[in-house]
């Protein structure tokens, strides 16, 4: 797949930025479970936090391919940081940009695009909340165990069950009756994934994004984009695991030879390279359909399903190439392995993704 000149320039810049602004602290922040505040500041300066937002809201107005390439490069160094950027762009900015009221756009978009706030998204598949309508109010109780970007303490998007369907809400950082805490997740530990508990949280029409009961439509619209970005995170992880495993295999000597000389290691490298290239092509293909204004849902689901599964498989094999060292936190591959598990089930599990693919195929 050939990227445009602009895209390659962007790729080089983000690669440089990631090396300079994220690499040094990535390991430490992931181990400590702290969001990369400084790194996000640098990404904001580059426009990555408003990647798809138009210039009128201080966004970088990148196309989908450009943003996917940027996310991939960030993920190579720190998948958590890439996840923050992807959720912020696709899960928060996008629905408000496409469906929000004029007031909501004014209130959130410029601040989000410049990184003053980091927007979140309460993952629909972890919804355990109830919504009651009382007069003009919507009262929410219950919880969502997967508030992406939750620890950034910014506003977030939430899709609550309403009259048998979904209504989309934007919840302010200081909304009453909203309690956040840290979620204990196996990976993406610097991504600030939280749990949110709603206790008689009273919302008004001003919180609704789009129309009432339009949540499903909004999700359909943002989902495909999120899938491309999540797939790009998986791709960055795969690239990182591949780079690390290939280097290690060339350096590690056993039986008086670098282990890259052994057939079973060579086979793994070939398998990893194949999954990596196939994923990259699927992702860029979906992104380019999106940029050409085509229906990219099927392509996005296929890319996400394949890249997520591949990331799990590749990082498992990367640890295996490292042997015992791969199991130790002194080396990077065990983090890639844990992060890959997370991205594989976000934002939808592989079986749900497969069902979406079939629905698109059957046109139902």
């Amino acid at each position: 797949m050939i990227l445009s000149k602009e895209c390659i320039l962007l790729q080089n810049e983000i690669r440089k930025l990631s090396q300079q602004a994220l690499l040094e602290k990535a390991d430490e922040l992931n181990k400590a479970g702290i969001m990369p505040v400084e790194g996000l500041g640098k990404l904001a300066e580059m426009g990555i936090l408003g990647a798809n937002a138009p210039e009128e809201f201080d966004g970088a107005a990148l196309d989908v391919t450009g943003a996917a390439v940027a996310i991939e490069e960030i993920s190579r160094v720190c998948a958590s940081t890439a996840l923050i950027a992807a959720v912020h762009n696709a899960g928060f900015i996008r629905p408000i940009l496409k469906f929000g009221s004029g007031e909501q756009k004014q209130k959130y978009l410029s601040d989000a695009a410049t990184g003053k706030i980091i927007g979140g998204y309460a993952l629909i598949s972890a919804n355990e909340m109830k919504l009651q309508r009382t007069g003009e109010k919507f009262v929410v109780n219950g919880k969502n165990q997967f508030l992406l970007n939750g620890e950034a303490d910014g506003p977030f998007m939430m899709y609550a069950p309403d009259r048998g369907t979904l209504s989309a809400f934007v919840i302010d950082a200081d909304e009453k009756g909203v309690h956040r805490r840290r979620a204990n997740v196996m990976g993406m530990n610097a991504a600030g994934i939280g749990t949110v508990v709603f206790e008689n949280c009273s919302l008004s029409r001003n919180n609704i994004v789009g129309e009432e009961e339009q949540g499903r439509r909004i999700l359909d619209e943002i989902d495909a984009l999120a899938k491309i970005y999540f797939a790009a995170i998986a791709l960055g992880l795969m690239q990182a695991a591949y780079d690390a495993a290939l280097k290690y295999a060339g350096e590690r000597v056993q039986f008086n030879e670098p282990i890259i000389n052994f057939g079973m290691v060579r086979e793994k490298i070939a398998d990893i390279a194949t999954c990596l290239e196939a994923s990259r092509n699927l992702i860029y293909n979906a992104a380019q359909i999106a940029d050409g204004q085509g229906n990219y849902r099927r392509a996005a689901s296929i890319a996400k399903y394949y890249a997520g599964r591949s990331a799990v498989e590749i990082t498992t094999q990367a640890i295996q190439i490292y042997g015992g060292y791969g199991y130790m936190k002194d080396y990077p591959v065990e983090r890639y392995f844990r992060d890959a598990q997370v991205i594989n089930v976000l934002d939808a599990r592989p079986d749900v993704e497969k069902e979406l693919i079939v629905k698109e195929i059957l046109g139902a």
């Binding site: 993952l123 997740v185 990976g187 039986f255 295996q320 199991y327 002194d330 997370v342 089930v345």
Partner: protein, 377 residues
């Protein structure tokens, strides 16, 4: 599935399951998080007689049958792969003493290992001797009636916890693998200390450290068996121990399968055909691995030699199964599977080591294939 376990095997299985659920289950999260050695759990297991499983009857054990080891390792692994490892290391460490040590050495150590008074560990791996296990750099120089050891052993499970160590060192570097000898060394011996502690992806209840030997003088009587046969003992010990690793993997897979069933039931997923497919695959593969482990264990317990290939089968398949099953469990549970509270993420982290320790699965495949093809022209 009925595997026709005899009465003793059935009662052992029942007993270990009860202990695992009563003692290991409430403690597993704490030790996974703190990464400390589960002293309290292991001593309760010892009080209940579970360390006797690895030791022959004449030295105060239950008989030291591989079948019993596999039954016990599976049941503990079902609850916690980390504590199962801390427990099973005693089989790996006592195995060479049971089979290759002198009568005096056996009488000195085995009864105390059986009661849990002493724990044991096995020191083979070094920084440059991983898959190439014979490439041992640690040396043991003969000095009159003594040996003097120098070198560092790496990634040693239960290092600093165990009281007695079987350690492999070179007594004659000109002879390669045939220059390797095995020694029994007690904790507290001058010149023997513990180095770097590893921070691991999983089995965090099991402590992994270096064994450091700096001019460590030990009496000649600490030599185990004959000089130059250490590597042979090691390989034969692994042949007997590998099904135990498989059994830990099997236990982890069983645990992940049960967690999947529980989740799918709670979330009304039993009618989802994708979930049905995964449950059916998990259940079938688990039974296949269990059958393989039991068949291998019975083959080994029947006596005789030449079960190296079968023993590798019994490690390779169940350890791959453990990783696959835990991955599938996470997929079915979706984001919940990633949360520590649901435990399948721990099962996956624990499972991953079973593909690596006691010979990576690539080494197992190599050994199996060479064994199969060596007679074919």
């Amino acid at each position: 599935m009925d595997y026709f376990l005899n009465t003793e095997e059935q009662s052992l299985q029942k007993k270990v399951r009860e202990i695992a659920e009563k003692i290991v289950l409430p403690a597993r999260d704490e030790f996974d998080l703190s990464s400390e050695f589960p002293h309290s759990v292991i001593s309760r297991m010892a009080e209940e007689g579970l360390l006797k499983v690895f030791i022959p009857a004449e030295y105060g054990g239950y008989g030291g049958r591989i079948m019993d080891m596999c039954i016990a390792c599976e049941e503990v692994g079902r609850i916690c792969g980390g504590i199962a490892t801390a427990y099973a290391v005693n089989a790996l460490g006592s195995g060479p003493i049971v089979h290759f040590a002198s009568e005096d050495q056996k009488r000195k150590y085995l009864p105390r290992i059986a009661t849990g008074e002493m724990q044991c560990a096995f020191g083979l791996t070094e920084a440059q001797a991983g898959s190439d296990a014979a490439n041992i750099q640690t040396t043991a120089h003969r000095d009159g009636d003594y040996y003097v050891l120098n070198g560092v052993k790496q990634f040693i499970s239960n290092a600093s916890i165990a009281d007695v160590y079987v350690v492999l060192a070179n007594t004659d570097r000109t002879r390669g693998a045939r220059g390797v000898s095995a020694f029994i060394i007690e904790k507290g011996t001058p010149g023997f200390s513990f180095g770097k502690e590893e921070n691991k992806l999983g089995i965090r209840a099991s402590v992994t450290k270096e064994l450091v030997f700096e001019d460590c003088r030990i009496p000649g009587e600490n030599l185990m068996g004959k000089e130059g046969l250490g590597f042979v003992y090691t390989m034969r010990n692994f042949d007997r121990a590998r099904p135990g690793v498989g059994a830990i993997g099997l236990g982890i897979a069983q645990g992940a399968y049960e967690a999947t069933l529980e989740f799918a039931g709670q979330h009304e997923l039993f009618n989802n055909q994708y979930v049905q497919r995964v449950i059916a695959d998990m259940a079938s593969e688990i039974e296949a691995s269990r059958a393989l482990i039991y068949a291998t264990a019975r083959l080994i317990d029947r006596g005789g030699k030449g079960f190296s290939r079968e023993s590798s089968f019994a490690k390779l398949l169940p350890s791959d199964l453990a990783v696959r099953t835990a991955c599938r469990a996470i997929e079915i549970m979706g984001p919940y599977g990633l949360l520590k509270e649901y435990r399948v993420e721990k099962m996956l982290r624990d499972a991953k080591i079973t593909q690596i320790y006691e010979g990576t699965n690539e080494i197992q495949r190599t050994v199996i294939a060479l064994e199969i093809t060596k007679g074919i022209k």
